[in-house]
């Protein structure tokens, strides 16, 4: 089992802006759209600084033998599975709640988008670290992209039960609510399958080829 802290992340304004656009907007459909105003960009920059002071990235992961993991349809082709959880800590969420409670909605939604992006970025950086730290296992095998409960026909309930039963996540101060919600909310749990027969497209790349067009979790 490996615990990591202070995972370095960088925050990309375009990713944050993407989270602040209407899903119906032309930019979301790949067309050109209005550039953000200087005021919005200033707000994003100043709130990014504030967020980075509050963010404490933490992660935990472990390599498991896949044969005992359920549901079998996800793990039957893999030999090893890495399960991981990472978080950016609760302080940013507290700040967001305070802003929303004060009626500072614009600031609140910007900070929320920054925090969401930071959590995903932490998961991406953690994945790179995992791949680097486990290259001896990986170089003889194929491996999937990371995939999370709620995606790839893996229910939130089944996925979180599995991950949180096998990893001592309290070590990074993440817990699961009775409804299987991670607290702090800006946390990401995921798996990576490793083996000679695994389908490499399983995971976040799979949405492109997945036939569930109207899946609520499609990326």
């Amino acid at each position: 089992m490996r615990i990591l802290e202070q995972i370095g992340i960088s925050l990309d304004n375009q990713e944050i802006l993407q989270l602040l656009r209407s899903k119906n907007s032309s930019a979301q459909k790949g067309k050109a759209s209005k550039e953000p105003s200087p005021q919005l960009l200033d707000d994003i920059e100043s709130l990014k600084k504030e967020a980075l002071e509050l963010i404490e990235t933490k992660a935990i992961y472990e390599v498991f033998t896949s044969k005992d993991l359920l549901p079998r349809h996800l793990f039957e082709l893999s030999e090893k599975t890495i399960l991981a959880v990472c978080s950016i800590s609760k302080a940013v969420e507290d700040k967001i709640s305070k802003q929303m409670d004060k009626g500072e909605l614009a600031q609140g939604v910007i900070l929320d988008a920054i925090a969401s992006h930071a959590a995903e970025e932490t998961a991406s950086q953690l994945t790179k670290i995992i791949l680097e730290e486990n290259k001896e296992i990986l170089h003889k095998n194929k491996y999937t992209s990371r995939f999370s409960p709620g995606y790839c026909r893996w229910s939130v309930e089944d996925g979180q039960k599995l991950i949180f039963s096998l990893l001592p996540v309290e070590a990074i101060k993440v817990k699961l609510s009775p409804s299987f919600m991670m607290i702090p909310r800006k946390s990401v749990s995921f798996a990576i399958n490793i083996g000679k027969r695994v389908e490499k497209d399983l995971g976040i790349k799979e949405c492109v080829t997945c036939d569930l067009d109207d899946c609520d979790y499609r990326r």
Binding site: R21, S22, F180, R185, Y217
Partner: protein, 212 residues
Amino acid sequence: MAIFDECKEAIIQGDIDRARELANQALADKLDLNMVIDAFSEAIRHVGDLFDEGEYFLPELMRSAEAMKAAMAVLTPHLTTGEIETRSLGKVVIGTIEGDIHDIGKTLVASMLAAEGFEVYDLGADVPVATFIEKALEVDAQLICISALLTTTMVGQKKLIEQLVKQNIRDRFKVLLGGAPVSKNWVAEIGADGTAENAISAVKLAKELMVH
């Protein structure tokens, strides 16, 4: 620029201080407050369209909603009870279901509903089904908006409908569902009245439901 145009501009620019100032000026000049509110309302609808079209980002939409709220806080106390009732688009009870602490999406919908003229009772997050029903009965709401951000908490939306049916009051309320995992199939499956993918669509749908 005429004051009505200035009112619209203040909302479109999301200028909270200016919107409040113009509302106070309208009072001082003894203008027809309904015409002033109409100007503010027209602007907030326009801002909603701009957001939907991708011309505005969410924080800009929220600033406009905050500006609208600031203006209405000045004007509303000077309306008669009859005028308030006439202007109200309806009463809405809104919250995030028990077991779910996601709050932001629900708060945005509540803000836009209020900005457009609904009387909104925001119960917050982690709200039991019984509380939704008690509040809706207490204020004689027409709409219940219930948000769930997880597949594991969506079941609470179903429980709400079941309770309304069980208590023989399903027909008294329209029920709108919100949250990322909510689909039209889920709406149909549990017998709700609709869902919307963002705050602007939610307001449009709420208005439609009030007519039908």
